[in-house]
Symmetry: C2
Subunit: 209 residues, 2 copies
DNA sequence: TACTGTTTAAAACGATCGTTTAAAACAGGA
DNA sequence: TCCTGTTTTAAACGATCGTTTTAAACAGTA
């Protein structure tokens, strides 16, 4: 087994288990058992559990933010004053096409769950890591949203955006449970595409109002 | 020190620490140290850590749901067909006036954070406990929301409600992180009451559209 | 005061955690 | 083939966890 294999298998397993259970509830022994590598491999290749957590986020967040940056560049190149739908459309498109989570079938669900963990379970080190590495893209995205609605105060924009993020993160990270509940409630299944089709006007209505 | 004192002090400390750190990140030794009681007192009075977690939720959720039930009774007694604002208003009012978290200064913040934990960190036992004890009030509340908009399909109502729940839960469980981000972003702090004041019209706009 | 059941106290239990160690296995070039 | 640096392995480390044990302190009653 090559080094790349071991590192990748650890990242894959950690990604799945973190998304499923959270950070503290996932032990290195769970990760290395699922990855079929030796326990010490984590500390050898990554240094510590904290570094592994950061590596898991870096692996999918770096290409995601790069893709988002490119798309935002393309957007402002073709449209000096993009409106809310334009900016949100870029985000949705990047999420649907630019997320690569190796070895996981339901990529979007894992992506959202990890994103949710970044908010709800972020210890100091992870919050610092994310801010240092991805705050630039994040701030830029927020800025475009703000520019689309210059009549709103910074505070209003901030909280509306994060209410919307909350709806996204919660829905997508519990999508399996919610679909089961929807079947029990309405008698019919709701495909992911239908859920997203309903969520986008929901978010737009809540943001624009 | 009387038994009631010991039990109450454990509940107070556990409540604070759970809200602050989550369940797994809070050890019984942290709790008993802060409560200034012996370590074994938790297992003596509550049985286990899981039972303590449930007791913490029961202490504030039972009076909260009783209050909410009463308010909902009063609402339908005075208004056979309450609209969305009425129902959401009852919820907001109950949250603002009917929450008693002993020994904590910022009660609403702790309440929100615990509610968020109930969704994001609930392992099997807590989810089961909450469903068994509080699902009736919860279902009733959802029903009134649905009745307020009979023109919408069950599916539409279902997903809108859960998008809204997502915005609430996410905001509640990440409130400290978000307030920090808001300070970094806007330069000013946003009090919890202000966040709620902004969230309610957000939810109403998103639900009614 | 002596007795009884309840509560608190200190100490230890076994399990699990992240991490480290030291040796074995491996790979590639001289 | 031998050497060298890298990677994997098995085992152990110290720390911390939830829980249990056993005895001491306490409160109420007769």
């Amino acid at each position: 087994m090559s080094q790349a294999d071991t590192v990748t298998r650890i990242l894959d397993s950690a990604e799945q288990l973190f998304a499923e259970k959270g950070f503290s509830e996932t032990s290195l022994r769970m990760i290395t058992t699922r990855a079929k590598v030796n326990l010490a491999a984590v500390n050898y290749h990554f240094g510590s559990k904290k570094d592994l957590i950061q590596a898991v986020f870096a692996r999918f967040l770096t290409p995601f933010c790069n893709k988002l940056d490119k798309e935002l560049n393309a957007l402002v190149a073709s449209n000096q004053q993009p409106n809310l739908h334009d900016v949100l459309g870029v985000l949705a498109n990047t999420m649907l096409t630019g997320v690569h989570l190796t070895g996981n079938a339901n990529k979007l669900s894992v992506f959202m769950r990890l994103l949710g963990l970044a908010y709800t379970q972020a210890q100091g080190h992870l919050r610092r890591f994310l801010r240092e590495n991805y705050n630039e893209t994040y701030s830029r995205f927020i800025l475009y949203l703000r520019n689309a609605h210059p009549e709103l105060s910074q505070r209003e924009i901030f909280w509306r955006i994060h209410f919307a993020i909350g709806a996204c993160v919660f829905t997508m990270s519990s999508i399996e449970v919610l679909r089961d509940m929807a079947i029990a409630d309405t008698g019919e299944d709701s495909g992911i595409d239908e859920v997203m089709r309903q969520m986008i006007p929901f978010l737009a209505a809540a943001l624009e109002r």
